[in-house]
Amino acid sequence: AQPDTTAKIKETGVLTIGTRTGSPPFAYINKDNQWVGFSIDLVEQLVKPAVEKEVGRTIKIEKKESTPPTRIPLLSSNAVDLIAGTMTDTPQRREVVDFSLTFFYTGAQFLVKKGSPIKGVNDIAGKRIASQQGSTNAKIIREKYPQAQLREFPDQPAAFQALIQGQVDAYTNDGIQLAGLKAKSPNPGDWEVVGDFYSEEPYGMAMRKGDVKFKAAVDAGLRNGFESGKYFEIYDKWFGAKGELPYPMTPTVKAYLLKHSGK
């Protein structure tokens, strides 16, 4: 039988999302111990109305933590309905889950101590590189740069901690996440994000495979956001000049997003 998340939501009135606790500004717990972020806003303001329209009732959003190694099992075990964090849309993952429209676009880079000899992916041979277990970056390093000593950590803070202490020489993750980490760290000046994107990381929201109705609702919500401009308002709130992490959207990215939204 095909999964039917909309029927379930209709019954329970709850949409459970799996998201991150330590990936600013996408999803993290802020100083007031509230669980906030760009990805969460997208769900609250764009996806939720669309799903409500689909199921014909008001619904509530519940959040659970999901990390790269746990998010797919959580989804397939019905513990969550939608992964809305920092998950990269890859062909391989598409074999087991469905992705929504891309809602963010970035690429893998390195976070290093200021002045580190590592300037990009070509300098990592023999170096100790931290990554997150189960992430696309870990997989690429493992497969394409086997000379690097890869250390995989279950979550972002552990990896960053290892970097701070010098246990590793660099921490690789999606550039925007590294920038977020640096900006939120106690001494942002000590760190820099280096290197060209050595991978493409389009973020999508993941859901159970083959759930056509639900996917349509999620996509409709996001597409609406792009069309109405609401998406760009939210983007501005987090990444605009006065946002949590100023990160102006490049025209290429904007074009990419709009192109993939089907416009």
């Binding site: 039988a1 999964p3 190694p69 397939s76 889950v97 189960g134 997989k139 950590f153 246990q167």
Partner: protein
């Protein structure tokens, strides 16, 4: 959505290799930690039974402090907390030589050493005081009495509880995944994330642990029977 089993994921691709590496790492970290734990356990366990207060206090402090804080916290402590205190050169060397492995090994060994010492202490305490008296009454020194009489008897008495504790150590080595040690549970989850086949991966990991534990328990049961003191431990198969 009904679950589609696909057991072949366990041996196709890299999964099998990962699991084997996981077993090797689990055995290595547990084995080394076990040696450390037994050494510390004997020292601290014996220290807490000698008639000299400072030594007893030191033993007690070690045991209480280490066994009363979760292993997970100790993992973070040895991995993140300790290296900065070491000289720069040692740090560099460690970071280049699997610091996470050594930190995990230390955390496991020191934590379980505290628990092991409790096992050893109760073993020693269960030997009647008169055995010690009989030993020194023949002219043995206190040290000889411990080395030749008390400890050999205690070691035999504690084989069953020590086996339990050793199995706990083996299983607790899984906590080292939090500091990036690629042991068996880590590799199980690796298989799971790469294949998205949670049940298969977890089943494989669980079975491997069971086989490891059951074989160790079996070996220790043989050891126990081999070294049993006639008449003292009446335990069958």
């Amino acid at each position: 959505m009904s679950y589609q089993f696909k057991w072949s994921v366990l041996w196709s691709g890299q999964s099998g290799g990962w699991l084997l590496q996981g077993v090797a790492t689990t055995l290595a970290i547990s084995g080394l930690a076990w040696i450390l734990a037994v050494g510390l356990g004997i020292l601290a366990g014996a220290a807490r039974t000698v008639p000299w207060r400072p030594l007893r206090l030191a033993g007690t402090f070690y045991v209480e402090f280490f066994r009363n804080v979760p292993l997970l916290v100790w993992m973070f402590f040895w991995y993140f907390g300790v290296p900065p205190l070491l000289p720069r050169g040692v740090q560099d060397w460690l970071f280049n030589h699997s610091a996470e492995f050594w930190a995990g090994m230390f955390a496991l060994g020191v934590y379980h050493g505290a628990r092991m010492s409790e096992v050893i202490r109760s073993g020693i305490n269960s030997i009647p005081r008169t055995q010690f008296e009989a030993s020194v009454a023949m002219g043995l020194t206190t040290f000889q009495a411990y080395r030749l009489i008390i400890v050999p008897i205690a070691l035999r008495l504690i084989v069953p509880p020590a086996t339990n504790e050793s199995l706990n150590l083996l299983k607790n080595s899984s906590v080292a995944l939090t500091i990036s040690v690629a042991e068996l549970t880590f590799q199980t989850r690796q298989v799971e994330t790469y294949t998205a086949k949670a049940i298969e991966a977890l089943t494989a990991g669980t079975l491997i642990y069971l086989v490891l534990c059951v074989s160790i328990a079996w070996i220790m049961a043989r050891v126990e029977r081999r070294f049993a003191i006639p008449g003292l431990i009446a335990r069958g198969g």
